[in-house]
């Protein structure tokens, strides 16, 4: 009898969970479907077509935006990975109390409303007279990505057995050598996963970019935004579909890299 009641309960929970997933994914599916719609006004289905994707390839400004986006993502990911990994290792070695305080401080950018970070950086750059452009956007992206890398690498580091590095030290390895030959290889997948995620977050960012980009630093999300604001053209669906699939793919890749190691241990 209890078993039966449990079954009913589980079935209800499953239905609710599937409903949640439908809610999370339905708009994305609709978007992708409509990007293949031949109709100019996306309201009704007029047959399958790739014309909006073709239109994108002819858009020169779009290619420039793609270039800018990639440049910013690569540079900001490199900075964030370097600083984030180093800080994660440093934090692990601190005494418990100062570690807890710094942990909290590094989390702040993750929960700060993005619009605040955007306007603060804008004011700051204007005040120090640094012209807005690719450089300022890259700096801003690196700032919100350091905590992203830090949190992921820290989580992994905490699960490592400290006696491994200690053993290497006892066998005469220098601290740097022990770190490089023992800890770093174990951290590898977390670092790669974190940088793939940081790269994606940079590629996707709109708000901070919006405030810190000058006229010459249009990125793909800024381009999408201006297309939305100037009127719905079917090309946005095609561009959005590409962006959403690319970033979903990258996130899945990042999770898979992090997950694989967890399973292999």
């Amino acid at each position: 009898m209890t078993g039966q009641a449990n079954d009913v309960r589980r079935r209800w929970l499953l239905a609710a969970s599937l409903g949640n997933l439908a809610f999370l994914y339905a708009p994305i599916v609709v978007l992708i479907a409509f990007s293949f719609n031949a109709a100019r006004l996306a309201a009704s289905w007029q047959g399958f077509s790739l014309r909006w994707y073709e239109a994108l390839t002819r858009d020169h400004a779009l290619m420039v935006a793609l270039q800018n986006s990639l440049l910013i993502a690569v540079a900001s990911t490199a900075i964030a990975t370097l600083l984030g990994v180093s800080a994660a290792v440093g934090l692990e070695r601190l005494p418990q109390r100062s570690r807890a305080a710094l942990d909290g401080a590094f989390l702040l950018p993750l929960v700060m409303p993005e619009v605040m970070m955007g306007v603060a950086l804008l004011l700051f750059f204007v005040l120090i007279k640094l012209p807005l452009g690719l450089l300022t956007v890259t700096i801003g992206h690196a700032a919100f990505n350091v905590p992203v890398v830090l949190v992921i690498v820290r989580a992994r580091l905490r699960k490592l057995d400290p006696s491994l590095e200690e053993a290497a030290r006892d066998l005469g390895a220098t601290p740097w050598r022990a770190f490089r030959r023992v800890t770093l290889p174990l951290l590898g997948p977390a670092i790669v996963g974190a940088s793939v995620l940081a790269f994606t977050v940079s590629l996707d960012d709109f708000v901070v970019t919006f405030f810190t980009a000058g006229p010459g630093a249009t990125t793909l999300p800024l381009k999408v935004y201006s297309m939305i604001k100037t009127g719905i053209s079917p090309e946005i669906n095609a561009l959005s579909a590409i962006l959403v699939l690319a970033s979903m793919g990258l996130v899945a890749l990042s999770l898979a890299i992090q997950q694989r190691q967890r399973l292999s241990q």
Partner: protein
């Protein structure tokens, strides 16, 4: 081995390892926030610049009923978003937490993937669904629930849908962590003692998973309160929220001091929320 020198080298090492990140975040995160704080006490120059005087006028101006209304509606929308996310997210988190370990990873990945995916594009995707000639209206009319299209897009309802959609994963993750630790035998014991389903939920499950509930609610409430993209894309001309108000003051009106004061009030709310989170014994969100 003497403990002290080793301790010192380790402390020095960690200082060097931490320094680059601390300097970067200090200069490009804390310092800009400090600038916002200082400018919130300055006054607006003749041509939209900043005049360095000390005044509380900006904060006084924020008490204008017009602005208070913006704060109140943001607060209300954020609160409603939190409530909906909790009601939707709890069954999902419960299901994942009690699923076989193999499936947990897959379900969590399915929740996490949209969470890290392009927020602007995901919000834009709702425009296709909510438009007067969009999918939702077509569906409702086909089902005979409505006879002619209703205006959902560019309304508070659209903003609410967009916010719930955007921040649902923030709710599910901490709830999952809390429910996973929940001891099933306590739930079974309550059922064996003939507690009703509702009593089991409110007297056993909710009290035992309270830290996760508090964490999830704050993690949804904070970004909803300061949301920018959602009200900007899905809200109407009159559905301004704090985020859009700040952007408007900075880039359209070019009243930086007033925009800074508004930012700082938002920041104070965020910090108060985080403080509550820590006090409730909250854990790290990710």
């Amino acid at each position: 081995m003497t403990g002290r020198p080793v301790h010192h080298t380790i402390a020095r090492q960690s200082a060097w390892l931490l320094a680059p990140a601390l300097v970067w975040m200090g200069v490009f995160f804390l310092l800009p926030l400090l600038v916002v704080f200082l400018i919130s006490f300055a006054s607006r120059g003749a041509y939209g610049g900043v005049e360095w005087t000390f005044t509380l006028a900006n904060y006084r101006d924020l008490a204008d009923p017009l602005y208070l209304y913006v704060y109140a509606r943001s607060f209300g929308l954020a609160l409603a978003t939190t409530a909906f996310c909790l009601c939707l997210g709890f069954p999902l988190a419960y299901y994942i937490a009690k699923a076989p370990a193999r499936w947990q990873g897959i379900w969590l990945a399915l929740v996490l993937i949209p969470f890290w995916t392009n927020f602007l594009v995901r919000t834009y995707a709702w425009i296709n669904v909510l438009r007067a000639d969009g999918l939702l209206n077509a569906l409702l009319m086909a089902l005979g629930i409505i006879s002619e299209p209703i205006d959902i897009l560019y309304s508070d309802l659209a903003v609410l849908i967009g916010l719930v959609y955007g921040y649902l994963p923030f709710m599910v993750l901490p709830l999952y962590a809390a429910i996973e630790r929940l001891d099933d035998s306590l739930v079974d014991a309550a059922r064996d003692l003939y507690a009703s389903g509702w009593a089991v939920l409110t007297r056993v499950i909710v009290p035992l998973t309270k830290p996760g509930i508090v964490a999830g609610c704050l993690l949804v409430f904070i970004p909803s309160l300061g949301a920018y993209i959602t009200p900007d894309l899905l809200g109407g001309a009159r559905s301004m929220m704090i985020g859009t108000f700040i952007q408007h003051e900075y880039l359209v009106v070019r009243d930086w001091p007033l925009g800074s004061a508004a930012s700082f009030v938002l920041m104070a709310m965020v910090v108060a929320g985080l403080w509550g989170y820590q006090r409730a014994g909250g854990e790290r969100p990710l």
